[in-house]
């Protein structure tokens, strides 16, 4: 039984009035946020309308190659976002490549396993299921990886004297940097831990809310949401671990030196 209520464009415009009021308040209170609000809102409108058309076309064509290409494009944008969110990223191709590769590896692995063993659409790469699932997993993994890498690089840069003091007393690069690696891993895991703890009490997740609004039974929506949260948690864990360990390997060398020359200057 579907209780889905279709929206008109007029309904969407009416909802945007609240944002316009916020913009007006910004001008009145001299917050100077109205321009940023307007640009962000316009970007969102354009991006969502475009992705709506792209997804409609991808679902209609239903090609594994185009589905893969779409996933790769999403990964490339997310990789760039990881790089841009770090105050001091690794320089050169490592800055963009390491975080992006770790995120893609974790995202593709977890999404593929979920599609082939749990959701099991036919074919398993059905874009209507694969792309939204991959997008949710990728978005959350991206947040974790960028937070983890930013914490690692900033703290290692700041604590250079303490790390080198330990190296000078015969510590290996792994033991001298271990507290900073642990801190970075905690930082990367924190958003998904907080999200899991608050889900269902403080907030109803967007996907579950969307399913309920579309008329799906709430207990069925909860099952899907639990599946998604476990997948996101797993992918975030793999992605953060790979990215942070790869980053600290690159920030040191085989002679157990700290190689801050491999970091780009602070933004």
């Amino acid at each position: 039984m579907s209780q889905y209520i279709a929206l008109t464009y007029w309904d969407v415009v009416l909802a945007a009035v609240f944002l316009v009021i916020n913009g007006a308040l910004s001008i009145w209170l001299d917050l100077r946020l109205e321009r940023q609000l307007a640009i962000a809102a316009i970007r969102m409108i354009v991006q969502l309308i475009l992705i709506g058309f792209v997804l409609k076309a991808l679902f209609a064509i239903s090609s594994p190659w185009l589905t893969g290409l779409a996933a790769l494009t999403m990964g490339a944008f997310a990789g760039r976002e990881i790089w841009a969110r770090q105050e001091r990223a690794l320089s050169g191709v490592w800055g963009y490549g390491l975080g992006g590769a770790a995120m893609m590896f974790a995202g593709v692995l977890v999404t593929t396993i979920a599609l082939t063993t749990q959701i099991q659409p036919d074919p398993w790469w059905t874009p209507r299921l694969a792309l939204p699932l991959f997008g949710m997993i990728l978005g959350n993994t991206m947040t974790g990886v960028s937070l983890g890498l930013d914490t690692l690089n900033s703290s290692v840069h700041r604590e250079r004297p303490a790390i080198e003091a330990q190296l000078l007393l015969g510590a290996s690069r792994w033991s001298a940097t271990a507290p900073f690696v642990r801190r970075a891993l905690r930082s990367g895991f924190m958003p998904i831990i907080n999200a899991m703890a608050a889900t269902g009490v403080v907030s109803l997740p967007g996907m579950m809310t969307g399913q309920i609004l579309s008329g799906v039974d709430p207990t069925e929506a909860v099952k899907y949401q639990l599946l998604i949260m476990f997948l996101i948690g797993g992918a975030t864990g793999f992605g953060v671990l790979l990215a942070v360990l790869g980053n600290i390997w690159r920030l040191t060398d085989e002679r157990h030196r700290l190689r801050l020359d491999r970091l780009r200057d602070a933004k």
């Binding site: 604590e159 250079r160 004297p161 303490a162 790390i163 080198e164 003091a165 330990q166 190296l167 000078l168 007393l169 015969g170 510590a171 290996s172 507290p179 060398d253 002679r255 157990h256 030196r257 700290l258």
Partner: protein
């Protein structure tokens, strides 16, 4: 013997010198000449080229952590990674006597690092390096922040190290200290090293 041959790192070199065990080599030169970078290169803390032998053993034959326990560098500004002083020593129970010799109260091991003065930090950094019993000490202006009495105590400890057969590479701006401790010297200017000369 510590034999450094054609040591090059960005901004410094080539530098060559030989240092017998039980002797002290002073490294002099104006600020920015590359003295600190030279000590870091010997300790293999920065990428560098050239060869270094300690008692005929090539540096590259040893893992870097092992090399750094044989060649102990005490930088001018050292780092601290734990809350209390004792946490920075490999054997805190045996450190009190060493601290007293350097003019720091033995109970300083129980202090918070935050309460240490600059001079105390310098001497504690020397103490924690000495506890590893390195064959060579690389000291970057070890007494720059100390008064005369504390400087004398540190120099007494360093003379004891030389008598025990250890070698010291000492960066100093203090001409009198150079004469009191060093057997030979090299001068750095713009990263270039002069020939090694005896002191005196």
């Amino acid at each position: 013997m510590l034999q450094v041959t054609d040591l090059i790192r960005a901004g410094v070199g080539p530098v060559s010198f030989g240092l017998e065990m039980g002797q002290c080599l002073a490294v002099t030169g104006p600020s920015g000449a590359g003295k600190t970078l030279l000590l870091r290169a010997i300790a293999d803390l920065d990428p560098n080229q050239g060869s270094i032998h300690l008692n005929s053993q090539e540096r590259r034959a040893l893992a870097a952590p092992q090399w750094r326990t044989k060649v102990g560098l005490v930088p001018a500004e050292t780092g601290w990674w734990a809350d209390t002083v004792a946490d920075h020593f490999s054997r805190p129970d045996d450190a009190a006597q060493l601290l007293e010799a350097l003019g720091v109260p033995g109970d300083a091991l129980n202090w918070q690092v935050q309460r240490l003065s600059t001079g105390e930090r310098h001497r504690l950094a020397i103490a924690r390096a000495l506890q590893l019993e390195p064959d060579v000490l690389l000291l970057d202006e070890p007494t720059a922040a100390l008064d005369k009495q504390a400087t004398r105590r540190v120099e007494t400890v360093l003379r004891g190290q030389l008598k025990a057969g250890k070698a010291i590479v000492l960066v100093t701006h203090d001409a009198a200290q150079l004469k009191r401790l060093a057997h030979s010297q090299i001068a750095l200017s713009g990263g270039k090293a002069s020939a090694q000369e005896p002191v005196g």
